[in-house]
């Protein structure tokens, strides 16, 4: 359901900066359903990749083979991401706070002696800064949805309204957070992430209980439409392209 909900966020023709894993699956699902002209951009330098199977890494050969252009890594960041040419960026998170700030660096302890050392920033800080909008895909639980992130790897709305402008960040920031429980969107005034949709079968209490702050709930809280037969078929077809199903 996370994948389907994420795919639905992508309008046809958009240029989309895709990381590996769920974002890649969602983007390719969108391409297989309602958005055939979605432009997939991978940080490995593949612009307009059209893989017919799901890559395991952002540097799989299938991406280069099917891309409109393969450019260098400096070029993808400097000529394509930085000037704001990418409409949508996907990000994951190990921790996320109420303003959509993201930690993928260290959890617990202090920076030099962390409890858990995570992979780090990668392309995320500049994706968060420069894409027209950001879609965050993340599991919703108390470990992840925290009052404060231990480390700001990528900026959402900082400490609230006006912060992105003050920092000179030119992209729009997180437009939507998609979890295994539902969908959150920033309040247009406070920028605080607000629960706007639940996935079928999930309650608002479950969502609030999985959140480390007092989660705001939209007045018109709705339940998302379940995956359609077409979406499910396309998703199954995509998943079947993974070579051996042992994907972690």
């Amino acid at each position: 359901m996370m994948t389907v909900a994420a795919a639905r966020q992508l309008r046809d023709g958009a240029a989309c900066f895709v990381g590996i894993g769920l974002p890649s699956t969602a983007a390719n699902l969108a391409r297989a359903t309602h958005a055939p002209n979605l432009v997939l951009i991978y940080e490995s330098g593949c612009l307009g990749a059209k893989p017919d199977r799901l890559p395991l890494s952002i540097g799989d050969g299938i991406l280069a083979d099917t891309a409109d252009a393969v450019v260098s890594v400096p070029e993808v960041f400097n000529y394509w991401l930085q000037p704001g040419r990418i409409d949508v960026g996907f990000l994951g998170a190990a921790q996320l706070d109420r303003y959509g700030n993201i930690n993928t660096t260290v959890v617990g302890g202090d920076y030099d002696a962390p409890t858990v050392r995570l992979p780090g920033a990668g392309g995320a800080p500049e994706i968060a800064a420069s894409c027209g909008e950001v879609v965050v895909i993340v599991r919703q639980d108390l470990r992840t949805f925290t009052e404060r992130v231990d480390f700001v790897t990528s900026v959402g709305y900082g400490t609230g309204p006006g912060d992105r402008e003050r920092l000179g960040l030119r992209g729009g920031g997180p437009r939507v957070v998609i979890t295994d429980l539902g969908v959150l969107e920033p309040d247009p005034v406070t920028c605080e992430l607000t629960l706007t949709h639940l996935h079928p079968g999930v309650t608002r209490e479950q969502a609030r209980a999985a959140t480390g702050w007092d989660l705001a709930v939209a007045d018109g809280l709705a339940t998302g439409a379940p995956p359609t037969a077409r979406e499910l078929a396309a998703l199954r077809a995509l998943e079947a392209t993974k070579s051996d199903g042992r994907r972690p």
Partner: protein, 272 residues
Amino acid sequence: MAKLVSLTDGVAHLVRDGDVVALEGFTHLIPFAAGHEIIRQGRQDLTLVRMTPDVIYDQLIGAGCARRLVFSWGGNPGVGSLHRFRDAVQHAWPRPLELEEHSHAGMANRYVAGASGLPFAVLRGYTGTDLPGHTTNIRPITCPFTGETLTAVPALRPDVTVVHAQRADRNGNVQMWGITGVQKEAVLAAHRSLVTVEEIVDEWEPVPGQVVLPGWAVTAVAEVPGGAHPSYAHGYSVRDNDFYRDWDAVSRHRDTFRAWVDEHVHKAGAPA
């Protein structure tokens, strides 16, 4: 003109204890065989530089070659964590590992500055994140025309860069294609360079998307077929995704890791 050497000689002459070493290759064309040779030759106190210190640096770190890591994303792509990297950071095993941490955009631009003979690069990056608080190598810079504040990062100038490519000719001209990442910049930024290749040929056909490094800009070339495994060389091999997935279990414990290195690095020996 680049010298044609064996992998053993190339590493022996170009990679020295205490060096700043960059092994680049963005998922594709990662110079694993050269990394193993560095382990076999017992290099110490290296500052390892790499945008994505994935399995290759997990091996070098676990083998105790590294004192310091300069990087932007340290994971096993599509799989999860790097357990040797985590063990070094969290428990200083087998020795402490200093970190200098950047974003991809920052690292890529640091190589660009190095390749360009400039002391620094400018980008829109890092702003508002906690990254600048942990290194002195991320600083603000003001545009002399607009007054805007942007971010500066210093050039990377590795002592030696090692990359893998598809082909070289007998003058040491190097041809690579597919995803070519930041390799050209990493080679041009370095004081010395070693390129391992799938094959050395008399002449090559130009290939769409190729990047050519002229032999006079490369220090040495070694023919190491399969030298990117478990990464791959576009047109020669495919990525061994099973290896990456299996690495998660191999690397999770110190003893299984050590056994793997003994068998697959030390006992295997250098390629002929």
